[in-house]
Amino acid sequence: MDFLPTLTPEQLTAINLSLRIGFTATLCSLPFAVLVAFLLARGNFPGKTLLDAVVHLPLVLPPVVTGLILLLLFGRRGPIGAFLYEHFNFTFAFRWTGAALAAGVMGFPLMVRAIRLSIEAVDPRLEQAAATLGAPPLAVFFLVTAPLAAPGLLAGAVLGFAKALGEFGATITFVSNIPGETRTIPAEIYLLTQTPGGDQDAVVMSAVAAALAIGALVASEFLAKRMRIETRGLSS
């Protein structure tokens, strides 16, 4: 079991960084994903198809293109990036926050899809029942829709997290491959494969990546099962 000690400090940094980026990307994009998923599931407004298409873009575009678009928008000289730097002295460019942004954007369509499905599966008449009892829309969402869609919300979050851990193309295009800042697990693996004699380390890192992804899935499956038991009242 002398598996962990074989990891180099660089590799540990990459793992640490990947986890931080994954959690940040997931937590920050979750509220937006829930909002967009709710609009797509329940809303009926002009431009719904367009919103749906835009949300799905990162899924169908080459990641490099997504990275490039992020660079053009959020780079130091991009319209949004320049605004943020000028007014808040904040920048995504070549920072781990930029990697989190790229990971969040890439995972967004996956999150929205999972959450949308679970919201659509909630019987709208339960929401109507809540409305006839006098509950305002936000209360209906937080007390009825969200708890019933919780397993889907969780599944969406886990998918987003797993995607964030594995994101490579958009990240490297947007914020490059800077050790300790934007060198995530995939970037580290890529670098190792390019280094003579790095193959074995690359395999070890790949195993770590696989373990993290599978761990996330197992944890979410466990939580989802508990939620379902709660909902159906089978625990007693």
Partner: protein
């Protein structure tokens, strides 16, 4: 108390309905697809009419001309869904607390314990909706709607998911709800028995139009020609006391305040039973007929007679002990016997018309 005048078209279906009711229980009666449920949605605020006006207890909820549309959550209209629609992730108590929490802050409040007690759901509080039977769910659904202290209670086929044997009890519950909490009820139904028993006013709906409005006995007396099945469906169930079985004749004698009721074969063992008596099985006589084969004679008083230009009339009777009974008669018989409201009469019921399937144990 309630006045509705709405138009709505949805694809092939169009609804154009106007009615008013002052009754404490109003029934919307019609076959499935007639637009009853759409009307419920319009009154509760879950749907919007193209044109129209809805007023409840002097409060305008919808007036398209004046651009008034009170959203569902501000209407104070309680809705009991066909399948209850309890929140599955909350316990029964939490479902009720939910309604209590969001009840209009200015309005009256119904005490939690009294609602729970009236509906007999005290022992279910910690359960989840998934662990309840259809009837229990329905009772919790009614309780939840009441916790919001509604000005009007809408019930969409509340007995559909309750098995036949327990429906009478459910109906008693609706009556008790009306009396105990003084909340007017609009009931959607396609069961003549429910409507006859509960409603003071019936709005008969067919293909999105109001066909007739009136007291149940009037409606079903005049509905007879086109739909004979309606004529045979009219009836009430009577509560009877002890049953005794005559082994020699194989007859069950049920005790009723207005007289004994005989029916063939053994009735289910129960302290309290109910017999469903169809209006077409009841004949009337001014004096006890000296030589009739009919064994069941009930004493009662004529309350009203509903007749149309057709051949038939329906007499509404108040039996000794206060229960209602309906008799389907020909108009000729009514005229020749000079049957009029206030008459003391004998109601004759053929035993062979009754069978144990019509007996429910309570």
């Amino acid at each position: 108390m309630i006045s509705v005048d709405v138009k709505l078209s949805r694809g092939d279906f169009s609804l154009q309905t106007a009615f008013g009711s002052e009754s404490k229980i109003t029934a919307l009666f019609g076959h499935s697809g007639s637009g009853k449920t759409t009307l419920i949605e319009l009154i509760s605020g879950l749907a919007r009419p193209d044109v129209g006006r809805i007023e409840i207890g002097g409060r305008v909820l919808v007036d398209t001309e004046k651009r008034i549309f009170v959203p569902a959550r501000k209407r104070g209209v309680g809705l009991v869904f066909q399948d209850a629609q309890l929140f599955p992730h909350l316990s029964v108590a939490q479902n009720l607390r939910f309604a209590q929490f969001f009840a209009a802050k200015d309005g009256r409040r119904l005490p939690f314990d009294r609602v729970v007690e009236t509906l007999g759901i005290g022992h279910l509080m910690t359960r989840r909706p998934g662990q309840l039977s259809g009837g229990e769910r329905q009772r919790v659904g009614v309780a939840r709607a009441l916790m919001a202290a509604p000005r009007l209670l809408l019930m969409d086929e509340p007995f559909a998911s309750i098995d036949v044997a327990r429906r009478t009890k459910a109906m008693e519950l609706v009556e008790r709800t009306r009396d105990e909490f003084d909340t007017p009820v609009v009931l959607v139904s396609h069961q003549i028995e429910e409507v006859m028993r509960l409603a003071g006013q019936v709005v008969m709906i067919e293909r999105g139009r109001v066909k007739e409005v009136g007291r149940p006995e009037e409606i079903f007396a005049s509905a007879r020609e086109e739909t004979p099945s309606d004529r045979f469906g009219v009836g009430v169930s009577l509560a009877c006391g002890d049953a005794s079985f005559d082994a020699h004749y194989r007859l069950t004698k049920l005790h009723h305040p207005a007289g004994d009721i005989f029916l063939p074969d053994r009735a289910p063992e129960a302290k309290q039973t109910r017999v469903f008596v169809k209006a077409v099985d009841v004949s009337l006589a001014h004096r006890p007929p000296p030589d009739t084969s009919i064994r069941t004679l009930l004493r009662g008083k004529v309350v009203s007679i509903a007749a149309t230009k057709g051949p038939l009339a329906i007499a509404t009777l108040e039996l000794k002990g206060g229960e209602k009974l309906f008799a389907s008669l020909t108009r000729m018989a009514v005229d020749e016997l000079r049957i009029k409201p206030g008459d003391e009469v004998y109601c004759l019921i053929k035993a062979v018309a009754l069978d144990e399937r019509q007996v429910e144990s309570v």
